[in-house]
């Protein structure tokens, strides 16, 4: 994901701001990392360039 995408993302549960932690980045953008809700502290993974903003409490494969 491109860094600019962060502007349009929020926590899917409480709509809070997300803080970005980057583990791996290349010319296409962020490949691996974490988006953590600054309000409810839930962490959402970015893997293979795709932020996964499904509530963590639900079980999705």
């Amino acid at each position: 994901m491109k860094r600019s995408l962060l502007d349009i993302l929020c926590c899917p549960v409480c709509k809070g701001d997300l803080a970005l932690d980057v583990l791996k980045e290349d010319e296409t953008g962020i490949i691996e990392g974490t988006l953590t809700c600054t309000r409810c502290s839930v962490a959402y993974p970015i893997s293979d360039g795709i932020p996964d903003l499904l509530p963590r409490t639900e079980s999705h494969h």
């Binding site: 994901m1 491109k2 600019s4 995408l5 349009i8 993302l9 929020c10 926590c11 899917p12 549960v13 709509k15 959402y44 893997s47 293979d48 360039g49 795709i50 932020p51 996964d52 903003l53 499904l54 509530p55 999705h60 494969h61």
Partner: protein, 205 residues
């Protein structure tokens, strides 16, 4: 164990592949696009429509259009990977859950087939097809939530089918004080595909 990049692992059988409805909605979206539009495709599936719009932005405007962008979402992990392979910026989320505005053009080819519980197939493709008992379950939620991310003056392009109940869908949006226009209709076998353009009724307070 060696980690295999997940982006290459997706099951195409679990992703809705482009069909007549996809092509019809892309045609309309390409005509609707205006330079500078911030575009969101909900339920991007294979990413065919989002990638098609990106192609227009890049070719027609020769890359000078810095402000336009396209983002696709899907709940289906196979779909987001498939769309990303096409170069689409994707977010895995349910409808608008992980998103904040605002967008000038929102495109949605929703799951609209009336589906009874006993007809459910319980796989990821189900999310692309299953519109609940009346075909409008996801559409109702979409109608309630789209206003949160639609920019003032923004447009929604929505594909529905005669199987979904055209009148009921339109009524659902007009009740929420949206203005609905029929852009085009196309008959495909025993159903008719309909593309609606939906806007906030700016004069309504």
């Amino acid at each position: 164990m060696k980690k295999i990049p997940l982006s290459v692992i997706f099951d195409p059988d679990q992703v809705y592949q482009p069909e007549t409805d996809t092509y019809l909605l892309l045609d309309v979206a390409l005509k609707e696009f205006r330079s500078g539009d911030r575009i969101l495709e909900i339920g991007t599936g294979s990413g065919y429509i989002a990638a098609g719009i990106m192609g227009l932005i890049q070719s027609q405007l020769e890359g000078n259009d810095e402000s336009s962008f396209v983002v696709g979402t899907d709940i289906n992990p196979h779909a987001v990977r498939c769309a990303r392979e096409k170069g689409v910026e994707v977010v895995r989320t349910r409808l608008f859950d992980g998103l904040r505005g605002s967008f000038d053009l929102i495109v949605f080819n929703p799951p609209y087939l009336p589906t009874l519980d006993e007809e459910k197939i319980d796989d990821w493709l189900e999310y692309a097809l299953d519109g609940g008992p009346d075909g409008r379950a996801v559409l109702s939620r979409f109608a309630k939530e789209v206003g949160m991310v639609l920019a003032p003056g923004g447009r929604v392009l929505l594909l529905i089918s005669s199987l979904t109940g055209e009148e009921a869908v339109i009524e659902n949006f007009t009740k929420l004080s949206y203005k609905v226009e029929i852009v085009t209709k196309r008959r495909v076998f025993d159903e008719e595909l309909i593309v609606l353009r939906i806007r906030k009724n700016e004069s309504f307070n």
